[in-house]
Amino acid sequence: MVDRSATGREAKPATNEVEKGAIRRFAEAIGETNPIYFEEAAARAAGYRSVVAPPTFPTSLRAGSDLREGLMLSPGKHLLQAEQSFEYARPIVAGDKLTVRSKIAGIESRQTPSGPTDVVIIEDEGRDESGELVYRSRQLWVVRMAPKHAPGDLHE
């Protein structure tokens, strides 16, 4: 069981400067080839202020601490990410300075065929220098024992 009292815990906000190099390395790592992620000119031609971040790039933006680390899981248990959602108020581009906040939005028990499992929901948000919301991220992590039966299945 994950300590339920961790619900509501917040990380210290941290400002992340979105750098072209970080976007490029992320895009390269996922095998992107679209020039809007690599070249300023291509991004501008497509209407962006600068090199634009791929949709899942906000996963690399971090608050001041990793809330998963304070959960004190019992030995042999792991957190595996099972769900992710992003909402974007505008595109994220190089040069953005985003202040990222993160909090544990919930710790719940889910019934699965192999018994009840704890899930941890973490929500992040990033705001620009004027305080405008730029994105929200919600991650659902499953607390999982080492696999015994169906090593390939994340759920059920």
Binding site: S60, E87, L154, H155
Partner: protein, 271 residues
């Protein structure tokens, strides 16, 4: 609905020289012909895999079909040749149809180097994805890719298709573990087209399969698109959305109301 499809029929020959019924082999050419700046210049979208079902009329080449001998071609070849599950390469909302398939994206097999690079660039150093002995020790057959890598692939499919559009929401549920050497094919389908406060949205179902055809990820996206070339598109050079100084606030997080149900309620049609 009806007015849109009527408009679409009228607009298609002029605004979209690329017809949806072209055989897949021509896809690489099409990506260049369209001259869209975000279309990948270095590498065109990988051709659809064999596993992708050919459109019902894949064999019919509407543009090349010679007009019947001795008869003036009064009408363009019949619309019935349009495949039901067409590949939606259009990037104007008015040209899209519910049920359109996005061009699939087959990625090269994932290897351990890619997993390491992804960890480094995303800043998530979970040992289960990086440390083979550790993964073994805790009972996994070996290290495996983070689900977020598969989601990034789906994001690539989406943004390659969207071009001038804009992703407003993207969510995914990781169904099955992705292992090194897995070769993922990402697919998408337009689930809904709607207008809200003057903006045009396409809701898209997304999913990714491994080389065995197993569903590894299921996702959804909401995209905002230009309605038509006459309406905010063309060469105005900017995303309407990006240029709005007072961008509308992100709508209330739907997932907060239903934290357990971001994935689509019905599974994508099995291919």
């Amino acid at each position: 609905m009806s007015s849109r499809s009527a408009a679409k029929k009228l607009a298609r020959p002029a605004s979209k020289p690329v017809t949806k019924s072209l055989p897949k082999k021509t896809k690489e050419k099409l990506a260049k012909v369209t001259k869209f700046p975000t279309a990948s210049a270095k590498k065109p979208l990988p051709a659809a895999k064999k596993s992708s079902p050919p459109p019902p009329s894949a064999g019919m080449r509407r543009p090349e079909a010679p007009p019947p001998r001795g008869m003036p071609a009064l009408t363009p070849p019949k619309q019935v040749q349009e495949p039901k599950q067409s590949l939606a390469r259009s990037f104007y909302w008015s040209e899209l149809r519910v049920g359109d398939d996005l061009p699939p994206l087959t990625k090269p097999a994932i290897d351990r180097v890619q997993i390491v690079r992804y960890a480094a660039s995303s800043g998530d150093f979970n040992r289960l994805h990086l440390d083979e002995p550790y993964a073994h020790a805790v009972g996994f057959p070996g290290l495996f890719a983070p689900g977020m890598l598969a989601m990034a692939f789906v994001g690539q499919l989406l943004s390659a298709w969207l071009r001038r559009g804009h992703v407003r929401k993207l969510s995914a549920r990781f169904i099955k573990i992705v292992w090194p050497n897995d070769e993922l094919t990402c697919r998408g389908r337009i689930a809904e087209l709607r207008k809200d406060a003057g903006a045009c949205y396409a809701d898209v179902e997304l999913w990714a399969e491994n080389q065995k055809g197993e569903l590894v990820l299921r996702g959804q996206a909401t995209c905002e698109l230009y309605e038509s070339p006459q309406n905010g598109g063309a060469d105005s050079g900017g995303l309407l959305f990006a240029l709005q100084s007072s961008a509308p606030a992100v709508p209330a997080v739907a997932s907060r109301k239903t934290p357990s149900a971001p994935p689509p309620s019905k599974p994508p049609k099995k291919k």
